[in-house]
Symmetry: C2
Subunit: 371 residues, 2 copies
């Protein structure tokens, strides 16, 4: 059984090459299935692997109409950061959904079922994987509806689980009007968890107001620090998840948390408050350096956060609870909206790449490998 | 009973005023003692409270020979950071040692004993405090020998306890030739714990070589990153304690840890290694902003570290074990060397302040309030 698979290759000569390769899909083992992929989203987390650090102003089409290739230059100074992937043809796509077309002897019940999948290499026509990495979609759900069941929903729920496990009772989220941010608002509203949304424009604030968000702070406001501090003082939010990464925002959040904590201090302590303040960086919308003044005492932590290690360290009960909630609320809390559906070949078209790589708030693209 | 006490006052008008105030020491309660302070070190951690963010180029003597006062300007832009202490006359001095001159009914056995103390306000002639905050010095130990039993020894031991509690097996330390750094080397050599010392000069490297340090890396070396990465690869150090705080060093340590971890990776992972990397900032020798490129995956944490909350969270067994070791090794591992001993009045002399505030490696000043 053969199918086309999208591959990303960064060469040590400084070229990014995206291509469609014909790959052979082996027969599934006893506990495996082969899924015809019908929908796979382009998440911000996919773009880093897909496009690497290429200079997209140099994108050009190569190859033939039957075998399109996209080429772009990678500036030499950026090659060191991706040394580990150079000259390897890598499959792409964190998550997707489709129909089981072959099933191993132990998992025959899955045949012809629509399933959601996680595990990478989803920008492909046929994906072989262990049956346990699939979730059967609820009746009536389409592949498109099930395509984004993993990355954003599980990350949003992981924020909540982390909050509880680490003893916090409220949250701050940046780039808060994102698809993930909207899900997080729905969860927090349903669960009665105070959530402070940090956005960068009126337009983003409006998106969140429309879905009922209570705390919205615009980081471009001249009163941002005062507004953020007030919201923290009201909610006692001592935990933040930051998708921006670069710049001064993470440090400003810690500073506002400390300012809110200081309001309750009766005596001066030059080491700052003893309120523990945690910011997790889980994305890199700003790829520049992170910078902060340590104007928030010594009781703080700034850390990386990633779904995969979280799930690896979480108890099976926690993971099962998260998965079940995603299934139960697939068409409500965790519904994704797509700007457009494109084919595998479209994903290699420079004009289309320019559109989907913008990561514009509210925009999300879906690849359908059957097109 | 009256005595002189050093006080630091930062006014909202932008002045720092150091003075000696005559204070009345009340009779001790049943579980309290009054100690005649005979030795109290000037630690880097004392200087922030003592001198605040004053511009020391403006220091001038005021008051009278009997009641000296030191005055310096605090630039207006720095006042916001110390809002919590403005217009309060604050006592100074984290630790000290002396002789018990009065003891409450329940602790009469301490009378005339030499004790070490922690708890602040040690730059004073007589200090009343709970007996449980004193440690009786071993026979033959002088007040000077017992004056620095708390801050540096307990911090060094807290690093080791943290390492064990968080599952690391080796350490990195910056500003490594400091008094604290030398103690840490002695502990690690005795306990067989690999310790990577980061220094900033040949002179500092020599100090550490002389006491038997094995891993010494100079951050001013053109090959610093390669040398640090090699040392990490050899020791598996995934934990660092950083006294510098500002600048790029903390981030470079995380980057070198990641580079060492990547040597063992067989397949490319764009999210970086899954080796967890922790850097604690426990000082601020560089008070400027902290800056880093997040070139070390998502499995990392950069946090504040302070002895007091560590001790509050540690079990009583751990704290007792730490204290006992300090007593047992007071004249060896935890011996402090002082550059000079000064009086309380000397501590207010602009010429002498200029010398002790330099925080020069290997230099440490002791106040003897009986002089």
């Amino acid at each position: 059984m053969n199918g086309l698979e999208l591959r990303s290759l960064a060469t040590s000569g400084g070229e990014l090459r995206l291509s469609l390769e014909s790959v052979t899909v082996e027969e599934p083992g006893p506990d495996e299935v082969v899924v015809r992929v019908e929908a796979a989203p382009i998440n911000p987390s996919d773009l880093a692997l897909l496009l690497g650090p290429a200079d997209l102003s140099t994108m050009r089409a190569d190859g033939t109409p039957e075998q399109p290739v996209l080429v772009a230059d990678i500036p030499e100074r950026r090659l060191a950061a991706i040394r580990g992937r150079l000259d390897q043809s890598l499959p792409v796509g964190n998550e997707g959904a489709g129909t089981v077309v072959k099933a191993g002897s132990n998992v025959q019940d899955l045949l012809n079922k629509k399933v959601s999948m996680a595990g990478g290499a989803m920008y492909t026509q046929f994906r072989k994987l262990p049956a346990r990495d699939c979730i059967v979609l609820p009746d009536g759900a389409s592949a498109a509806e099930g395509a984004s069941m993993f990355v954003n929903p599980m990350t949003a729920l992981a924020f909540i689980e982390t909050m509880k496990a680490e003893g916090h009772t409220a949250l701050i989220h940046t780039a808060a009007a994102s698809n993930l941010g909207q899900m997080l608002n729905k969860i927090c509203l349903a669960d009665g968890i105070p959530l402070i949304n940090i956005v960068r424009s009126d337009e983003q604030a409006a998106i969140l107001r429309d879905i009922g968000a209570k705390y919205i702070v615009d980081s471009t406001s001249p009163n941002f620090m005062a507004e953020l501090t007030d919201a923290i003082a009201e909610t006692n939010a001592t935990l933040a998840f930051d998708a921006i990464g670069g710049g001064k925002l993470a440090g400003r959040i810690l500073q506002a948390m400390e300012a809110a904590a200081s309001r309750n201090m009766k005596t001066y302590n030059r080491y700052g408050s003893d309120v523990f303040k945690q910011v997790y960086i889980y994305g890199g919308l700003d790829t520049g350096p992170t910078e902060f003044n340590r104007a928030f005492g010594f009781s703080w932590s700034l850390s990386g956060f990633l779904l995969t290690p979280f799930l690896k360290n979480a108890s099976p009960e926690v993971v099962a609870r998260m998965r079940q909630r995603v299934v139960d609320e697939l068409k409500t809390t965790f519904a994704s909206h797509y700007t457009a559906t494109i084919s595998l070949a479209d994903a290699l078209n420079p004009e289309i790449v320019k559109v989907y790589e913008r990561k514009k708030t509210g925009e999300k693209y879906l690849i359908d490998p059957t097109l």
